[in-house]
Symmetry: C2
Subunit: 178 residues, 2 copies
């Protein structure tokens, strides 16, 4: 994968628009990946992310036990794979193999990066207060990577039942917002 | 406002794609509105939303005290107003008046609906466990409204510093996803 380190202070700008993401975990050398839309930024820097991983998901126990994951942002080119990942369970199949996704070693966590995704964020679980009640994990991004070759990433945004909105044009308004 | 009741079970499909929203509150007859990007679905039904409202925001104390708000989804037509709302404080001005937004009475909460927004969700704060640490509120949507005249809402998605991605084309993939 062609990639360069991405400033932690800029992570919010990639996640704030609400793209579908892939979440990878690893346990005892076995990689897993799931599709996720329920996440939000919680702090700029260090970047904190809140996300819901259902206790029905195979990733739930692994995330809880290992307290590590990678959040990777896919684009429209691999939308079909993103749906396949979301429609299957790591209990039954090796999704990296089945859907031809390439796991690459991360630098800080054992969960793998995904070569086919233009951004990859290595994360540690820092707060499990709301895991029992809402399946809600608080993550800290400890290392961020971006593929500098991808200039206009067409992120995909789930609207339910396999319908996705694809990122459209950008507009710039005068703003004091961060 | 032309509006009809919207099924609570379908709220996730409007918020999951990550649009910028407006959050309204009211206290002692005074309406306030802020711009927000940091929110996520936490449950399908009843729809639960997790969101960050900074303790620097004028809305923070009001939300904490009244435990009620409305989350309204704007579209590209009023993007300039959304930025103005995000760049000012209810401490200084009446934003509804200043930016020509129309507050209309909600049915269950005292916070107002926004006429210019195509979807409005009346919400109650149901969990403040993470408010002190992360400014993170858990809301339950208790009533949802939609403007049936808006067929293809061009939601806007903040990427930082006043840059927004405007919702693009939709794609439909075969999926078992909810």
């Amino acid at each position: 994968m062609r990639r360069k380190s991405f400033p932690l202070s800029k992570v919010y700008g990639l996640l704030e628009p609400g793209p579908v993401v892939l979440l990878t975990t690893a346990r005892q050398g076995e990689n897993n990946v799931m599709t996720m839309s329920w996440l939000t930024m919680m702090e700029f820097e260090p970047p904190l992310i809140g996300c819901v991983v259902s206790n029905q998901d195979y990733s739930f126990d692994i995330l809880k036990a290992t307290r590590e994951c990678v959040i990777a942002i896919p684009t429209a080119e691999i939308a079909a794979k993103v749906v396949q990942v979301g429609n299957t369970s790591g209990r039954d199949i090796d999704k990296f193999k089945s859907f031809d996704l390439t796991a690459e070693p991360a630098s800080v966590v054992k969960a793998p990066l995904i070569k086919e995704c233009y951004a990859n964020f290595e994360c540690k679980v820092i707060d499990t207060t709301m895991v029992n009640k809402y399946n809600f994990f608080v993550l800290e991004v400890v290392k961020a990577w971006i593929n500098p070759a991808v200039k206009e990433p067409k992120t995909i945004h789930h609207m339910g039942k396999g319908v996705f909105m694809v990122a459209g044009e950008k507009i710039k308004l005068p703003s004091k917002m961060k």
